[in-house]
Point group: C2
Chain length 160, copies 2
């Protein structure tokens, strides 16, 4: 009798199966809650928010809650070394602005996000939903921490 | 005739093969070059080094080149918000000290490192070699960026 070993004949190589399994890991399954600040927040506010929320990336939104910028820990450290008064310096001066922001959507694969983070040399990006009017609502946060969790996850999962 | 499909009968499930493949990814294959500063460096020196070298984690070494501390971008941002003069504040005051430093070695798997980064909530750790005398030489740097690169790597590799 044929031994029951828990795999099916598919004609695919191990490498292909590996890739297919990876591609099933979606942003929506690993994303974190986004931390946003208003565009009139100061750099000082931004630094406080970053420590209070313990995140490395903040998203800046306008009065309508639409994404207009992104600020990293590196941006804030650079600003803190300047001569300006951090409480009067608006975060909108130092942020990276739309359309220069790399985004992702909930249905994207973690693999796409990993490639974006590496190729753009960024720490994190917003998970967004287009409002159909050229704007983006921020619905999540994806960082190298989420990728690291996905990496650890595939090391323990037992799929059938 | 039996079709040649590029896999062997091993009696293992897909999940097990997946894990085995992951465990073959070693620190030594993905590690970055470490950036170290002397223990008498100032916080200001640390921040400059971090920007010049474009890293998020610095390792602090003593006169003999042995690891005594680690400083993150977050530590430096916190220090920069204080009232102290950054040029006279020694980095050794704000660093995380041995033996509270999580380390790894070149032969560790990337999976072990991913789990350490997640469970300890740290951004990076030194790759070390024990000098046999209780001290550690820093020979590499492992961060969530390296894990992200490993994740992207397994998505494209074609193993036989």
């Amino acid at each position: 009798a044929r031994p029951r070993v828990g795999y099916y004949y598919t004609g695919k190589t191990g490498g292909q199966l590996f890739q297919e399994r990876l591609l099933k890991l979606k942003v929506k399954d690993f994303q974190s809650i986004p931390v946003v600040i208003p565009e009139n927040a100061s750099v000082y506010d931004g630094i406080c928010t970053m420590f209070l929320e313990d995140v490395g990336t903040l998203f800046v939104v306008n009065n309508n809650g639409k994404l207009i910028g992104i600020v990293s820990r590196k941006d804030l450290l650079r600003a803190s070394m300047g001569k300006q008064d951090l409480e009067s310096l608006p975060v909108s001066i130092i942020m990276t602005r739309m359309p220069n922001i790399t985004v992702c959507s909930p249905e994207d694969s973690m693999l796409e996000v990993a490639n974006k983070l590496i190729s753009k040399q960024i720490d994190g990006l917003p998970v967004v939903k287009s409002d159909g009017d050229g704007g983006y609502d921020v619905i999540g946060r994806m960082t190298k921490t989420n990728i690291t969790k996905a990496f650890a996850y595939i090391g323990v999962e037992e799929q059938s």
